[in-house]
Each structure stands twice: as C-alpha cells, then as structure tokens.
C-alpha cells in the first residue's frame, strides 16, 4: 500500500484531513496511541477545550446523518439514524438504578468466514475503533461499552486490552470498555446474539421486537455497530461529513440518490478472495467498479467464472455481469447480489458453482441456532436438495422441490439465517442455470469434485446444528 493519502499534522497539533486513500488502515503499520493522536488529532469530545461543540447543536449525530454513513457489518443500515434512535430512547428511558440511558456494543466478532477486514482494522487502527466507541457513547448518552471480539484471536484480545488500558490512563475512553469474547459460529456475531451474551445468555439470536436500539444490554437502549462503522465515525467527528463524502469522482453508471444518502459515499474495507492474484483486504471508494478492484488486486489468477458478492447472505453473479457493477450495496442489490460486510469472492472456471453452493448451504444449515422449526428443519432439507442438484442427476421435481423449500424458510425465523441462505441459493440457481441444465442431462461435472473454494470453518458434510 502506498503512503499517498496519509494524514499529516497541521499547525498547533490539529491534523489535516486524509486526502484520498487509505483512510482507515495506516500505510506504515499499526499505530500506538501517541502516534495515533499525533496523526489524527485528539478525539473531538464535546467538552474538549478548543474543540468543544465543533458541530454545534446538531452534534456528531447530525454530522453522521449528513455523511450518510451506512453500517459496515452487513445490513448497511444508516448509522446516523441508529445513533439518533438510541439517543432518543436513552433519554426517554432515563436513569435506572444509577445508570443512565444507553449502552454501546462494538461488533468486531466477524463471524462471516469470508471476511477479514474487522480483524485487520482492529490490528492496524485499534484507536480509531476505540475513538469511535467513545464518541458514539458520548453522542447517545451511554455509560458503558462492550467490544466484541472472536474468542480465537488471542493476540487481538491481548492487544486491544492493552490499548484500552493505555487510553484509560489518559482519560481517552469516556466510558469503561469491556471486552466480550464471542464463540465461533455464524450467528454468534449477530446483534441480538451479542446482546444475549452480554446479558449472560447463550450466543443465539433473540426474537425481535424489541430490537437492541429499543431494549438490549441490561434492558437498556443499545447501539450495536460494526467496528469499521465506528472507525468512520471517529474520522467524521474530526473531519466532517463533507470530507467523508468527497472521495474523488465516482465512475460507473449514475445512481439516483437523495442528498445525505451514503450508500455510495466514503470509503469501505472490502475482503477480496478466491481466484485473484493478490487476495486480501482493500480500502476502496464506494462506487469503484468490481472489475477495477480485481485489476487492483492483480487480476484473476485463473479464468474467472463468477463472483460471490456479499458473503454467504449475498449473491452470485456471472463474471461478465459483475465486472462493471459499482461496489456498493444498492448497485449490487440491483443485480441480485449485495455488499454485505464488504466481501467479494472470485470463482474460477475450474470450480462448480452448484457444488460450492451446496457446500455452503450445508454449512449454513449446521449453523442454525435451533430455535425456529422452519430453519432447523428447512435448511438441512434445502442443503440436501442442493446436493442433489450439484452431485446427482436432478430431474424436474428436484428444482421444484428446491423452490418450494426456499419459500418455506423465508420470513419464518428469529434471525436472518434462513432468509440469507435462501437469497444465496436463489442467486445460484440463476447464475448457474447452465450448470443445472448440464447436470440434468449429463450428471455432475468433474469440476464438482474439486476441493471447495469457499471456506466453512470446522465444517464437514453431514454436520448437524
């Protein structure tokens, strides 16, 4: 990564806004607290001498709304709106046994196996995330915060703990930040799963309503935000909404968007994997075409066949179709995929898209929390159907059976697992329709026998929830 676009210190300790990219990931390695403050300036808390009330009455929440920042955890929900809801609910809820208003939960669990950006961000810019937590806590009137990390990353847990202590010593935290180790499992990092864990319950999604922004940790209005979203908030607080939105010309077809809409504004971390020469995490300007990102990553390493955009709740696109699509949630949704937590996987010609889909459908079925009949029963049945389509010689009834199952599992669960799986499978049936016809005529293709491209940690065929 080049050093172009790094922040430089301005006069009197104020920092100049980063120009271009990267914004979140420092090009010269992880920053300790002192270097972080020198580079970005002190955290612009409301009451800070010389920096107080930078954004006036509208405050940080107003700036985040104007920036149009959308959540980077997968749902792409407007961050400003969530902040405002939690702040209002916190005020309404009032103090409870000495605790006031709200709670902040930073989601760094990264349960999506195809995503690596949160780990990278927490390693390279922990203080941006912790700044974001402190600023969000101030904005919503929270008195405590939780930072959720995958329990397997010992080093990350250790380093983040040290960073929190370092900040406590100099009063940079504003509210106590407690780390929460999150177990592996696809649904463990879901927002209500995290709230359940904080409340001492099993790491399973809860039925909604109420959603966390209404009632979450300890029964308080709770802001659950992905760690990357909080890092963007930390920069918006310093450099403003206009800086956030302005990131050079946005190539590709014009997308009508209302003022303040942020779906194509600002930068985002994207995990690019599969058959590219240089897989990894890239910070891009939203709206960059998929093909250009792949070029930046050295181009395909093998003949490309298709792209999975959005992770396991996203969608498949034939490569030629995906190539010119701007990377953003609305533009990817418009073609039947999604941005998700910023995941793009390039499937080579040497793989079979139906086999990959069957493999992941089996994995997702094993990840059911087991709370809802349609998911617990429907997903394994769906996986079995996919296996027939991928590895058998499917007749007409197999496809009809699959479509019936897809309808049976949608909007019938407490969380998004059945719906996301259904969307993922539906996109496969479209993108790999040619393979479906070939399998029906000639049986499974030899490509179906290769080792899966898509990761499914700890999974084996036939594993049960």
């Amino acid at each position: 990564m080049s050093a172009a676009g790094a922040v430089s210190a301005g006069p009197a300790g104020s920092a100049l806004p980063p120009r271009g990219l990267p914004r979140l990931i420092p090009a010269d390695g992880p920053l300790r607290l002192a270097d972080h403050v020198e580079r970005y300036g002190p955290v612009p808390f409301r009451d800070r001498r010389g920096h107080g009330g930078r954004f006036g009455a509208a405050g940080l929440i107003g700036q985040v709304e104007r920036a149009g920042l959308t959540g980077r955890g997968g749902a792409c929900f407007p961050a400003g709106r969530k902040l405002r809801s939690v702040a209002e609910n916190g005020r309404r809820a009032g103090p409870l046994r000495g605790q006031s208003g709200a709670v902040v939960v930073a989601n760094g669990a990264e349960s999506e196996p195809t995503s690596a950006k949160d780990r990278l961000l927490l390693t390279f810019a922990p203080h941006l995330v912790l700044d974001g937590i402190a600023l969000a806590a101030e904005a919503v009137g929270a008195t405590r915060a939780y930072l959720c990390l995958h329990e397997s990353s010992d080093k990350l847990v250790f380093d983040l703990g040290a960073a929190i202590v370092e900040r406590d010593r100099v009063g940079q935290n504003r509210v106590p930040v407690q780390m929460v180790p999150v177990p592996g499992g696809y649904v463990a990092g879901q927002e209500t799963s995290l709230v359940n864990q904080i409340n001492g319950k099993a790491p399973k999604p809860a039925f909604v309503p109420p959603r966390p922004f209404q009632k979450g940790a300890h029964g308080r209005p709770t802001l659950v935000q992905n760690v990357e979203t909080l890092a963007h908030i930390a920069l918006i607080a310093r450099f403003g909404a206009d800086w956030f939105r302005h990131l050079g010309p946005v190539p590709g077809p014009a997308v009508p968007s209302a003022p303040g809409s942020g779906a194509m504004a600002g930068s985002a971390l994207v995990t690019l994997s599969g058959a590219v020469r240089m897989p990894g995490v890239y910070e891009i300007a939203l709206g960059m075409p998929v093909g250009e990102l792949i070029r930046r990553a050295g181009g395909p390493s093998e003949q490309p066949q298709a792209i999975l955009a959005g992770g396991y709740f996203g969608g498949w696109l034939p490569y030629a179709r995906a190539h010119d699509v701007p990377v953003s949630d609305p533009t990817l949704r418009a073609v039947g995929a999604a941005l998700g937590p910023g995941v793009l996987i390039l499937l080579p010609e040497s793989a079979c898209g139906l086999a990959e889909t069957a493999w992941i459908a089996s994995y997702l079925a094993s990840q059911s929390a087991g709370q809802c009949g349609p998911c617990l029963n429907g997903l394994p049945a769906l996986a079995e159907m996919l296996a027939q389509l991928a590895f058998g010689r499917p007749d007409g009834s197999a496809l009809g059976g699959t479509e019936r199952l897809l309808a049976l599992v949608t909007r019938r669960g407490a969380c998004h697992l059945p719906d996301g799986t259904a969307a993922f499978v539906t996109s496969a049936l479209t993108a790999f329709a040619g393979d479906l016809r070939r399998h029906a005529s000639y049986g499974p293709c030899p490509r179906a026998r290769r080792r899966p491209v898509l990761p499914a940690p700890g999974h084996a065929w036939g594993a049960k929830p």
């Binding site: 349609p374 029963n377 429907g378 049945a381 049976l408």
Partner: protein, 53 residues
C-alpha cells in the same frame, strides 16, 4: 394443533410448523385466534395489534 383450530388462517409446513396467512385477522376469527395462541404448546404464535397507518 393451531391449523386444526384455525384452518382459515393457518396451514402447516412439512414439519408441522404453522404457516400464517398474511394480513390482519378478520374480526369474526379473533376469538379463535386468541384461543389458538393460548393453546400453542411451544408458544410459537403471537397475536399483535396492527398499527393504524
């Protein structure tokens, strides 16, 4: 069980879980709907008041 009580609104999927017809419960079926919610052995049913738009 609920599908037997309220076949106008509830069918079952292949695993015996209820598929609820969309839309509000007709007024004349409300007492039966309340009964079905009370009798559900797994508390899988919920009757909520519709928001006025």
């Amino acid at each position: 069980m609920c599908a037997e009580l309220l076949p106008e609104l509830i069918t079952t999927d292949p695993w015996g879980y209820p598929i609820i017809a969309p839309g509000p419960v007709p007024r004349d079926l409300l007492p039966l709907a309340r009964y079905a919610v009370t009798m559900c052995p797994t508390l899988a049913l919920l009757l909520t008041r519709a928001e006025r738009t």
